[in-house]
């Protein structure tokens, strides 16, 4: 069995952290990743970029539509996750539109940070990678 842990939190609260607190939290997350890796439990992990960078793809009667933001209806639960490589958001939308089980509901397409984990030793802004463009 494989599990995907989808982490929900208030982005505003995350943004409000001081730079020091942010680095500390990031270190803790990476340390926990390492702990899980040593325990043979770890597959892959990455933060998602903020919710306003999301697009939602829906296929109705073969017609693809895309809207801003995560507009999944509350009765729809997150049911799967595929990480893909694509040239840009429109290519990713085209790929997402073909995920068969997505036709039951919708697929939220969210870009990942360019580089993760950040190099904390080099003093990089820990949250720079997680901020939009």
């Amino acid at each position: 069995m494989k599990y995907r842990c989808l982490i929900y939190f208030d982005e505003a609260r995350h943004r409000a952290l001081t730079p020091e607190a942010h680095v500390e939290l990031t270190r803790a997350c990476l340390a926990y990743d390492d702990e899980l890796r040593e325990a043979g439990r770890f597959i892959t992990a990455s933060p998602l970029r903020p919710v306003q960078t999301a697009a939602t793809v829906r296929v109705t009667d073969g017609q693809v539509s895309a809207t801003d933001g995560p507009f999944a209806e509350t009765k729809e639960q997150l049911g799967g996750f595929i990480m893909i490589r694509a040239r840009d958001l429109n290519e990713a939308i085209a790929v997402a539109a073909k995920i068969p089980v997505g036709w039951l509901g919708c697929v939220e397409v969210r870009p990942l940070p360019e580089a993760w984990p950040p190099d904390l030793e080099r003093g990089e802004e820990a949250n720079a990678a997680a901020m939009p463009g």
Partner: protein, 407 residues
């Protein structure tokens, strides 16, 4: 080899894509096929060596992969049948270069189809013809990537639903369709040259992209207005370095350091103007370019041939009458005959109400009043212009003028 494939991608991917769009008749299918073709190249070229004609290889591989994919998605049997009978080799009467050029031109016409909104035409052209990513286009237009992605998805759906064919327009429609294409390129340039809002005056990447599109169009079609447009873009862009001060403030034509003008762009633009004007009746872009060329020709503002410029505006007003053309003509008349003559014309335009909310009309009026020493009228017009202007450098310019009047 990886680097070699990346280089082929940069050089050929848009042309391969255009040919795949013709062969497959669908933008998304062609995009997928393009991706598959390059994946196949990355696997096979290091093993078997680079093919003699990489572009033809990629088109053929992409088409093959697309048909293969469609076969696997068996529900599209009819489409597969149709594609499978199409000849793999293009029309033998046309050379390969010609076919590729025609494919690119077809793609441009589809992206700039009049059934699409101007916003969609611009987004689609930049993505499908120029190969910019959704994220890059969104950043250039200060829009969110999801919003722009949505625009592109809708435009593609519209093309599919309206069954817009991947063909160049019929001769009867050519003039109108070409005008749309030229307008899209002009919009791209304008957004790069004079961002419609925001803190920064110009975003040069879009201007460069528009010039590339203009060059591409000139290489694909002999239309004089394509040359006229490219000339106009080059002549405007030649002043880019002189248009803003080190502080990011707007510098007007009269106050620009003409040593900063790009002479090679001016030479290329002027030559294109001559070509465009010598092949038939002058179109609006060629005339606007000719006006820009007269400015470029003057060593300093006083040496400007204003009589020539007024004459060119007269011609422009005949082929494309508009209040903005009239306003520009009025400013040129003011330079030729003095501010009073210009003010009469500007007031006539404003009293008709056409440009009541156009900040540059009020700025022009303010300028003429200032030169005539009518301080109160000048102040009122600068204030009106300031209340209408949206761009920070323009606003700072108007505020400076107001401060000078108060001093």
């Amino acid at each position: 080899m990886g680097e070699r494939i990346a280089a082929v991608y940069r050089q050929e991917s848009r042309r391969v894509f255009a040919s795949l769009v013709r062969l497959l008749g669908d933008l998304d299918l062609a995009e997928e096929a393009l991706h598959d073709a390059f994946v196949a190249a990355a696997r096979q070229w290091p093993r078997d060596g680079e093919p003699g004609n990489p572009r033809a290889w990629l088109v053929s591989a992409g088409r093959f992969k697309a048909i293969d994919r469609l076969r696997r998605r068996a529900r599209l049997d009819a489409v597969v049948g149709e594609l499978a009978v199409q000849p793999d080799t293009p029309d033998p009467s046309a050379s390969e270069e010609e076919t590729v050029a025609d494919d690119q031109l077809r793609l441009i016409y589809v992206c700039c189809h009049p059934a699409l909104s101007p916003d969609a035409q611009v987004a689609l052209t930049l993505r499908e013809v120029c190969g910019l990513t959704t994220e890059a286009i969104a950043a250039a237009f200060l829009t969110g990537a999801p919003t722009l992605a949505q625009r592109i998805v809708r435009a593609k759906a519209r093309i599919r639903q309206a069954r817009i064919p991947f063909e160049a327009p019929e001769p009867a429609d050519l003039a109108a369709r070409l005008a749309t294409v030229l307008h899209v390129i002009y919009l791209v340039f304008n957004e790069g040259y004079s961002a419609s809002s925001g803190e920064v005056l110009a975003r040069p990447d879009l201007a460069a992209e528009a010039i590339r599109l203009g060059r591409l169009l000139c290489s694909l079609t002999p239309e004089p207005e394509a040359k006229g447009l490219l000339a106009l873009l080059l002549l405007h862009d030649s002043r880019r370095a002189a248009r803003t001060s080190a502080q990011g403030d707007l510098v007007l034509l009269d106050d620009q350091d003409r040593a900063l003008w790009d002479r090679s762009q001016i030479a290329e633009g002027a030559a294109l103007v001559t070509e465009a004007l010598s092949s038939g009746p002058a179109g609006p872009y060629a005339l606007q370019a000719a006006i820009a060329a007269v400015h470029a020709d003057a060593a300093d503002p006083a040496a400007t041939d204003w009589a020539e410029i007024v004459g060119l505006y007269d011609a422009l007003a005949r082929v494309r009458p508009s209040a903005v053309v009239e306003l520009n003509r009025a400013v040129a008349v003011a330079m030729r005959d003095g501010p009073q003559a210009g003010l009469v014309l500007v007031d006539a335009i404003l009293s008709r109400g056409d440009l009541r909310d156009y900040h540059l009309a009020h700025a022009a009026r303010a300028d003429l009043c200032r030169r005539l020493g009518r301080k109160a009228q000048a102040r009122a017009s600068y204030e009106r212009a300031l209340s209408l202007a949206r761009q920070a450098p323009e606003r700072r310019y108007l505020q400076r003028r107001l401060d000078e009047l108060a001093a």
